[in-house]
């Protein structure tokens, strides 16, 4: 492709129109074709299924609106909807407050023990939810150390507090997502321009005032976008409502669907599909708010060609509060769950924490896990699938994020296509992709590539948030300078945008890799004998009551993932340092 003329049009007008082959336009068209092929079939198959009759022999045929009628006339719908909203709002607030404060403390203040916050985050990002939820439920449960002490004191069966409640759900979900919030907001805070904060401080503003009127407001698009993500994830959440809510008799929308699915064997997916289509509309509305927000995002870009490593706030005599918070996070999100798992892994059956149980300690669970080729295969499959999905996803997200953040032709369409997978609850996406893979004449179904493709689609929106937010923070003057110097868009992306974006790209890759490695809902239906993955294996262990083996395998897996995550973490930090130079 020729370059000279394009470089100059690029500078003259941000959206070069016509005049020969436009690299950006070709890129947009290619991306559009790929995204349509990945994202549209599951949606179409869901819509068809939601208006189709499911026959007794499990074939699908005939048009019906019965599934929708059932959805809207379900008397429990409003109670479940209310529970879903309460659960999602409060767990989002908890995750944002806790994770966000932590991120700010670690990135922008002189709080100590920062390493612990990263260690906690890295390990927790690679640890499947099932492992966390079961560990917390053990700790907070009726036989956990707190309730156990209470019951020993009172001699009654009745526990002091019941984790199987709405507040138990909110606490568990909130802490489950706080590491994600920390990871995402820490990169935002790290890259924010400190000039305005310093100006505020010099004009006499206190720390809190500066944080409120400058730091938070600068990061507002990132915070709101993140809140939306966590909220949507909580609406779609399955593990916590299933493991915590169901025993406590608290239904949310997803457990309603779960209950409707389990009414018949095999499940009638028509109702679940109708539910998903309704949710698709709800989320589309939420996303339109986000779109409006992003429209004004230009005025928030603070990264320019200038040196931008922000200086840190001195917390002075309040420093101990920051220290305490970092330590609290380290304890709650890392140490206690790990200790609980370690305790369980050494015992032949689940026992509460008592001195006399120590006599039963053995390494048998670890021996079983390490000797079994089954667990090795689980691990290998998971690493391959997660790495493939992260790589494919972040490549798509890089180009899509740039085109849409820079408002190039087709940017909005690409953004919407790449964001669409968010509307899928995981279990529904698994079902939809299963139907798609069975319908295409390629031997994908049952292989690990089925999982890799589904994960790529599922986590594309997450990768996109990294690249999109990253591009927004790079002032376009740098790209314009490249254009003036005669670079083609591809050269400019490669030589200017990609290096500047490398922390975001690496963080995004790391994030998608880690979150894909613990995906359960999609994998539950797509994984097969040749493609079992860790999260599914752990879910089976939990369901089967193999708690000791689950704990042992969980600890070994968490160790492996921590090694992988640390490699990428240091790569990311090196990238940052290189940039700072």
């Amino acid at each position: 492709m020729s370059s000279g003329t394009e470089g100059s049009t690029d500078l003259a007008a941000r959206r070069p129109a016509g005049g020969g082959v436009d690299q950006v336009r070709v890129m947009a068209i290619v991306l559009c074709v790929i995204l349509v092929a990945l994202v549209v079939p599951p949606v179409v198959i869901l819509i068809i299924r939601s208006v189709s009759v499911t026959n007794p022999d499990a074939t699908v045929g005939g048009f019906t609106l019965a599934h929708y009628a059932r959805f809207f006339t379900n008397p429990d719908l409003y109670e479940s909807l209310f529970n879903s909203v309460v659960f999602s709002v409060f767990s989002t607030i908890l995750a944002l407050l806790f994770g966000g404060t932590l991120a700010w403390l670690v990135e922008r203040t002189n709080t100590r023990f920062k390493g612990l916050a990263y260690v906690t985050t890295i390990i927790s990002m690679g640890t499947p939810y099932i492992l966390y939820v079961s560990a917390w439920l053990f700790l907070l449960g009726r036989s956990g150390p707190f309730n156990d002490a209470w019951r020993t004191l009172t001699g009654s069966f009745q526990p002091l507090f019941d984790p199987y409640s709405m507040w138990g759900m909110v606490l568990v979900e909130g802490f489950l997502w706080s590491p994600l919030v920390f990871l995402l907001l820490s990169s935002t805070f790290r890259q924010a321009n400190a000039d305005m904060e310093e100006a505020a401080r010099m004009s006499g503003a206190g720390v809190l005032q500066t944080v409120w009127s400058i730091s938070i407001k600068i990061s507002m698009p990132a915070i709101l976008a993140l809140a939306l993500f966590v909220f949507i994830r909580a609406i779609e959440a399955f593990e916590v409502p299933l493991m915590v809510g169901l025993p406590g008799g608290i239904d949310v929308l997803t457990t309603d669907v779960y209950k409707s699915i389990r009414e018949t064997i095999p499940p009638d997916l028509g109702y679940a599909s109708a539910y998903s289509v309704v949710l698709l509309f709800v989320v589309a509305v939420l996303l339109s708010f986000y779109g409006r927000l992003a429209k004004n995002a230009g005025k928030y870009s603070t990264v320019t060609g200038k040196g931008y490593r922000p200086r840190q706030f001195d917390l002075g005599r309040y420093r101990w509060i920051g220290d305490a918070m970092v330590l609290f996070n380290f304890l709650i999100v890392l140490v206690l769950p790990l200790l609980a798992l370690f305790w369980l892994s050494l015992l032949p059956y689940m026992r509460s924490i008592r001195l006399e149980a120590i006599a039963q300690f053995s390494l048998e669970n670890f021996a079983t896990v390490l000797q079994s080729s089954y667990y090795r295969e689980l691990a290998l499959h998971t690493l391959v699938v997660a790495a493939s999905a992260a790589t494919a996803g972040i490549v798509l997200a890089f180009f899509t994020g740039w085109i849409s953040a820079r408002r190039r032709t087709g940017g909005q369409v690409l953004d919407q296509l790449a964001t669409m997978p968010l509307v899928f609850p995981g279990i529904v996406m698994g079902v939809a992709f299963m139907m798609v893979f069975l319908a295409v004449p390629l031997p994908i179904y049952g292989s690990i590539w089925a999982l890799a493709i589904a994960y790529t689609v599922r986590y594309l929106p997450y990768g996109l948030r990294y690249t999109y937010a990253g591009v927004l923070q790079i002032h376009s003057e740098l790209e314009e300078a490249g254009g003036v110097s005669g670079a083609t868009p591809i050269q400019m992306l490669r030589r200017i945008v990609a290096p500047l974006l490398s922390p975001a790209i690496l963080s995004g890759w790391l994030f998608v890799f880690l979150i894909a490695s613990k995906e359960l809902a999609v994998a539950a239906l797509l994984s097969n004998t040749q493609s079992q993955v860790v999260a599914v294996g752990m879910y089976d262990l939990w369901r089967n009551g193999q708690g000791g083996e689950l704990a042992a395998f969980g600890l070994i897996w968490a160790t492996v993932m921590t090694c992988v995550a640390s490699l990428f973490y240091f790569a990311t930090r090196d990238g940052d340092r290189a940039q700072a130079l």
């Binding site: 499990a58 169901l246 064997i265 499940p267 089954y374 319908a439 179904y445 089967n544």
Partner: protein
């Protein structure tokens, strides 16, 4: 609805309990073995607990037939049925053999079960096999109430279904809510079959007021909650799981709450599976005396008439006999949807 008493030829079983090994050693036909070895592998969609039952069976099969590897995938009854039906409808069957308490009704209705009556199962009692060979029972289950012996002594523990209505147990019982006859719906069915429609529903209404804690997990996981001490009482737990845990020293015991629910796990061949001969060989092996002895050695209760259970106390016809309600496959097929609906309406 009719109620069937579960009366196996357990007397005969007890008599042959110390059966002479090797006397009736089973051997599959050389043609089948050759054809199976040519296929080289077999895929088993199972609902059984992996560490307790699947791994020992697979190891024994692979030792017996070293040229054939077994790939297995463990899932619940609903997911297993869904996988087979979807693969079948797409004409892309990947599984060869499957099992489960409630997988058969839907998979058979969809036409994806291949009838097969292996020689090894010719002596099985009539209630343990389908006359047309669609399924054979590979092990059976007794499900009943259990109690944590640290929290609750045998004297204090409830003994009858009426005892469960005691104020003391409100909020202190837990059960598995899987939509299968071995989950909460099985207890509903047991009550309705035993007490009759009207009295049964009246009882269930009262039971629903007891706030039984629902767990979307296996009976094994529910039992672990009781062992842990989260709840003093568990319902719908397998008595052989209790015995396995007792052997490890766990503070747990099972209650002869009559009639105890009895059920069987069924084994069958997938139609148009990729390895039909190896599939036949695996079914043949699991049902054979050799396979059933492996299963019995894990503490499971074998269906083979000549294989004795490791712990005869667990059997309805053991030293301390107990009354049962047998959930025969046809009873389950007719009533399961109703039982699941009642579970959902009253208890979930």
């Amino acid at each position: 609805m009719d109620r069937r008493q579960f009366s196996l030829g357990m007397g005969a079983l007890a008599a042959t309990g110390l059966g002479i090994p090797g006397l009736r050693a089973h051997a599959a036909s050389p043609e089948l073995i050759a054809a199976a070895e040519a296929e080289g592998q077999v895929v088993w969609y199972t609902t059984m607990i992996v560490d307790q039952a699947v791994r020992p069976l697979v190891a024994a099969f692979e030792e017996r037939y070293p040229n054939i590897t077994v790939e297995f995938s463990r899932a619940g009854s609903d997911e297993t049925a869904l996988k087979i039906i979807n693969e079948g409808q797409a004409d892309r069957m990947l599984g060869d053999v499957f099992d489960g308490v409630s997988t058969f009704a839907s998979v058979m209705a969809a036409g994806f079960v291949e009838p097969y009556s292996p020689d090894s199962a010719s002596d099985y009692s009539a209630q343990f096999k389908d006359p047309e060979g669609h399924w054979h029972a590979l092990n059976f289950y007794f499900l009943t109430a259990v109690h944590n012996t640290d929290l609750l002594s045998a004297e204090d523990a409830p003994q009858t279904y009426q005892d469960l209505l005691d104020e003391r147990w409100r909020g202190n019982m837990v059960w598995p809510v899987d939509a299968t006859p071995v989950g909460a719906p099985g207890l509903i069915g047991n009550i309705l079959l035993t007490m009759g429609e009207e009295d049964g529903m009246a009882y269930l209404q009262q039971l629903a007021g007891q706030g039984i804690v629902n767990m979307a997990a296996s009976q094994r996981a529910v039992l672990d909650r009781v062992i842990l001490g989260d709840f003093p009482i568990g319902l719908m737990c397998f008595n052989h799981h209790v015995a396995i845990s007792q052997a490890q020293g766990a503070p747990i015991d099972w209650i002869r709450m009559e009639p105890v629910m009895a059920s069987a796990s069924l084994l069958g061949l997938v139609r148009n599976g990729p390895n039909p001969n190896a599939g036949r060989l695996l079914v043949d092996f699991i049902l054979s005396r050799e396979g059933q002895e492996v299963l019995a050695s894990t503490g499971y209760l074998p269906t083979h008439p000549e294989v004795a259970a490791l712990n005869p106390d667990l059997l309805a016809t053991g030293p301390q006999p107990f009354d049962t309600t047998f959930m025969a496959p046809d009873i389950v097929e007719q009533n399961l949807a109703d039982w699941v609906r009642i579970t959902d309406e009253l208890f979930l």
